[in-house]
């Protein structure tokens, strides 16, 4: 098990094999999965690396827009505000394939952003994931900031702090809770397959990430590799969330909530 098989034809579809046995397959899969991780396969590294790179950038973009956007909706009382909140909450559950399709249409050669030639590049995947993550970060930020503003509003008013000035204040004071919002976005981005598959195309060495590889290898019957990647994906998500919980726990002890 040196490298991930890149060529579809070389691999028999074991799942259709007449001698296919569930119990044997699972044992083998787990064995291969841990072997993959233990040997730090170079190609596996590249795939995990690209996954992280795309998702981290997408979350960063979404946070830069989503944090102030959510805070704005929380602090300003404008016409259509309830509708905006309902919309944000609904968009949290955007189906990735729909987002993928829309971004695909935008970026395809005939689309409005076609001339940029972004389709089937990591940039296209970042765009799609940013769109998926933005409503999550914005909606959770709105909730956090609205709660905080409820507590602060009289004091801020007394100090002469208007809503515009209140936004950075509230975002900073809500920093530990907002970390959760950003993590929720990251969880969504890193685990999502539909959008990146459509706009990235799952091209080997170019746009192949963990989730698309899992989908591909599963369909090819390479369950061991698929499962290995699945375990890595889970471990990453677990590590990130544990880290966040730790930060929040420390913050609560040190800062008094």
């Amino acid at each position: 098990m040196g490298a991930l098989p890149g060529n579809r034809e070389e691999q028999p579809l074991r799942i259709r094999h007449p001698a296919f046995r569930m119990d044997v397959m699972f044992t083998q899969s787990f064995g291969t999965a841990f072997e993959l991780i233990a040997t730090l396969d170079a190609q596996l590294f590249a795939i995990v690396g690209l996954s992280l790179q795309v998702s981290v950038i997408a979350v960063a973009v979404a946070a830069v827009i989503g944090l102030p956007l959510g805070a704005f909706v929380a602090v300003f009382d404008f016409r259509g505000r309830s509708a905006a909140i309902a919309l944000l909450n609904t968009l949290m559950g955007l189906p990735p394939v729909v987002v993928g399709l829309i971004v695909y249409l935008m970026l395809s050669r005939a689309g409005p952003l076609g001339p940029f030639g972004l389709l089937f590049t990591p940039t296209a995947m970042v765009i799609a994931q940013s769109i998926l993550v933005l409503p999550i970060i914005a909606a959770l930020t709105r909730q956090t900031v609205a709660d905080l503003y409820g507590e602060y509003t009289e004091q801020l008013q007394s100090l002469g702090v208007g809503p515009v000035r209140a936004i950075p204040t509230l975002l900073w004071d809500g920093r530990y809770s907002l970390l959760t919002a950003i993590l929720a976005g990251f969880g969504r981005a890193i685990a999502e397959v539909g959008a990146v598959l459509i706009v990235g195309g799952n091209i080997n060495h170019v746009t192949r990430v963990m989730t698309t590889t899992i989908a591909l290898e599963t369909s090819k019957g390479n369950l061991a590799i698929a499962l290995g990647l699945g375990i890595i994906l889970l471990a990453l998500a677990l590590a990130v969330n544990a880290g966040a919980l730790f930060v929040q726990g420390v913050a609560q002890r040190v800062e008094g909530g």
Binding site: Q155, Q157, S158, L159, G160, R165, W172, G174, E255, G256
Partner: protein
């Protein structure tokens, strides 16, 4: 209304001789009413607050004391009636007032950063903030805790920090809404010492309390409210010696007013 008018005397305007030339006082309330959902919570309050006199808004719970304080400070707008400072510039008005709430609202930052934030909002430049923060924390005895996160302080210390924040702002008028309601006697004493220090600095004190002892210790004049009405306004000594309204008599006698 005529009976009420009789017990409200007006010798207080005379006391504002020492006011600074750019004073925002006196504050004049004229027929101020405040309604919520059709309920009249404050009814035709007319009142003048002058420089140099410590005003205590006294009355049982639900009398409308805190509401009146918020209206004066501009946190709420009256339903009808007029609230008029002697200055019309809203930015200047903001800068010359501070308020300390019953439950201190502190930012999730360090003790020093809480004071510095208020100064930054007021437009004090970065390098001038540091000594002002230090002086304010010194004044309330929190200098040693400057780097501590504000939210881990005890409630007494939190309230002192709220006072330090107000102190740094050097307000001309300080509104206090039951600042010691949740505190033990030791913490209360420290808070009251700071209130006295404000008074000595020439800050106009407007204090809401239902604690008679505190009212005795801090009042130059008493504004007694009951059920959203201004029932009696007197100099403190006269009020405690011989209240003129039945409600104030009952309140001072420790009876339960409803």
């Amino acid at each position: 209304m005529s009976k009420l008018a009789l017990v409200i005397d007006k010798p207080f305007e005379e006391q504002s001789k020492t006011a600074p030339h750019d004073s925002i006082l006196p504050l004049v309330l004229d027929g101020v009413c405040f309604d919520i959902n059709g309920h009249r919570l404050l009814d035709r309050i007319s009142l003048t607050l002058c420089h140099g006199v410590r005003t205590v808004l006294l009355g049982p719970n639900g009398a409308g004391k805190s509401l009146l304080l918020r209206l004066c400070h501009g946190l709420l707008q009256p339903t009808t009636g007029r609230i008029q400072w002697s200055d019309n510039d809203s930015r200047r008005l903001h800068k010359k007032q501070a308020m300390v709430f019953q439950r201190p609202v502190l930012l999730r930052r360090s003790v020093a950063a809480n004071v510095a934030y208020a100064l930054a909002v007021k437009g004090v430049s970065n390098d001038r903030r540091r000594p002002m923060v230090a002086r304010a924390l010194e004044e309330v005895g929190l200098a040693q805790l400057a780097r501590r996160p504000a939210r881990v302080l005890s409630s007494g210390e939190q309230q002192r920090l709220a006072l330090a924040r107000a102190w740094a702002l050097e307000p001309e008028v300080l509104f206090l809404d039951e600042p010691t309601a949740n505190l033990d006697p030791g913490a209360t004493r420290l808070i009251e010492e700071t209130i006295n220090a404000f008074h000595r600095q020439g800050t106009k004190i407007v204090l809401v309390t239902h604690d008679l002892g505190q009212a005795r210790r801090h009042a130059d004049e008493i504004v007694f409210l009951h059920r959203g009405r201004l029932v009696e306004r007197s100099m403190a000594a006269a009020f405690f010696k011989r209240p003129r309204s039945d409600e104030a008599k009952a309140f001072l006698a420790g009876e339960l007013l409803d």
